[in-house]
């Protein structure tokens, strides 16, 4: 570099600014800066502000393409971390920081602000007050809004497939984080409306960082969840943070697996319910036939021979039907004197190791249930 040491070698203003810009950009690496937000102005999405501490301040600009990635607009006086490149704005010869990223120094920061703002807007429209739709007991089609490549879908398929393979699963593939994810999730949720056979929906993803869950904190996503005509289970895999999607959904599950379990009955239990209905069916008819036999026995009248003949036919039919009924395991097994022990949740206790001393359990026998308890050793 060389200076202009005499007036006849004077530089133009533009040249000075251009050289100053090159000098600043060549010397100062991009950096994180901590300071208080002041004088914030928004011009067409570009944010202009200054950062300052007790001694000094620096002018900053955050251009639209970067600013729109912020979860919320910072507020005046907020302490922030800004990442940017120092430069000279040539036209004005002003030293400034071109900010690419910004976050609040406080825990939760801008995400918290965005969350509260969206929550207030949803509350104002009564989105949280609408009645929650109950889950169907025996779902036929389960819609799943998530990434086809994610762990969430694999978990849901495994659990729902094992518990209730009667149900078919309709996956609506969507990105769950990054640019465009919000639009995709909203569109996927709207698609459920057109799938008229679907009777329950699961929306979510496997666990992720706070930033990864941002999509499920978007007001538009929350509104789309509320607009789904069938019950929705929110399964955004995060134990600690409750998302707006969780708050708006009809039901919330801690994980995608838990959502699949919530959405489905257990096939073994339904089998056992069917068995119970079979027992009542047989007992119902047996009771009716017994009353008929008693009446015939009482009168001893030759005139009832017609009824007797009818009864023989009925007895035959009953034995045939009962034979078929016996095939409805576990009824036949129970009738032979076996019993099925279950714990309080209905789970079948199959092995000695399933019984803990002092634990209560229920013994299912051919004509009802018996409450029992494991003896202490």
């Amino acid at each position: 570099m060389f200076g202009a040491l005499a007036p006849d070698g004077a530089w133009s203003v533009s040249a000075v600014n251009r050289r100053a810009k090159a000098a600043v950009e060549g010397t100062l690496e991009p950096m994180w800066v901590e300071g208080d937000m002041t004088g914030l102005k928004d011009f067409g999405g570009n944010l202009y502000f200054s950062l300052r501490d007790s001694q000094a301040q620096i002018r900053c600009v955050m251009f639209r393409d970067d600013a729109r990635r912020l979860p919320a607009t910072p507020t005046e006086g907020m302490k922030v971390y800004a990442f940017g490149r120092a430069t000279i704005y040539e036209k004005r010869g002003e030293f400034q920081l071109n900010v690419a990223k910004m976050m609040s120094t406080e825990a939760g920061g801008l995400f918290r602000i965005a969350f509260e703002k969206a929550r207030a807007a949803l509350a104002k429209d009564g989105v949280f007050d609408r009645p929650r739709k109950p889950l169907p007991r025996y779902p036929r089609w389960i819609a799943v809004v998530t990434s086809v490549d994610g762990a969430a879908l694999r978990d849901i398929m495994a659990v729902a497939g094992a518990r209730w393979p009667v149900a078919q699963i309709a996956v609506i593939d969507t990105r769950v984080q990054g640019d465009g994810a919000v639009d995709e999730v909203v569109r996927a949720l709207q698609t459920i409306t057109k799938l008229t056979k679907v009777d329950v929906a699961i929306v979510g993803r496997g666990g992720g960082s706070k930033e990864d869950l941002q999509v499920f904190n978007e007001e538009r996503v929350a509104r789309a969840v509320a607009a789904v005509p069938v019950p929705v289970i929110s399964a955004v895999g995060h134990e600690i943070d409750v998302t707006l999607c969780d708050l708006v959904a009809d039901h919330r599950a801690a994980t995608p697996s838990a959502a699949a379990e919530m959405a489905t009955p257990d096939r073994d239990e339904v089998m056992s319910d069917l068995g119970h209905l079979g027992v009542r069916l047989a007992q119902g008819l047996a009771g009716r036939v017994q009353r008929m036999e008693e009446r015939v026995g009482r009168t001893g009248d030759r005139l009832v021979s017609a009824v007797e003949r009818r009864l023989e036919v009925v007895s035959y039919q009953l034995s045939v039907a009962s034979g078929r009924l016996d095939a409805l395991s576990p009824l036949g097994t129970l009738a032979r004197g076996f019993a099925v022990p279950r714990d309080g949740t209905g789970r079948v206790l199959r092995r000695a190791a399933d019984f803990y001393p002092g634990d209560p359990f229920v013994l299912r026998v051919v004509d009802g249930s018996v409450n029992a308890r494991v003896e202490k050793n």
């Binding site: 025996y138 699963i169 309709a170 069917l274 009542r280 069916l281 119902g284 009716r288 009818r310 409805l328």
Partner: protein, 74 residues
């Protein structure tokens, strides 16, 4: 999307059959008919439940926005 069996309706019907069968003064022919229907429905329900195999489909929209349902690959 293919229809899947509606177990809710099926169990409701079975429940109704059993309740009717348990009414003391039900006509014998009627009782037999209900019993037969009940046994048949129970058997069918158990068969379906035993044979059920979960299927996973992917919902896809073409460029015109028409939805179709495909088997999920992999």
């Amino acid at each position: 999307m293919p229809a899947a069996p509606d177990f809710g309706k099926e169990l409701e019907r079975l429940e109704a059959i059993v309740r009717q069968l348990e009414t003391p003064d039900i006509d014998l022919d009627q009782a037999l008919k209900l019993f037969e229907e009940g046994v048949e429905r129970l058997r069918a329900a158990r068969d379906r439940l035993g044979a059920a195999q979960a299927k996973v489909k992917q919902v896809l929209a073409d460029h015109a926005g028409t939805l179709k349902v495909d088997d999920l690959d992999g």
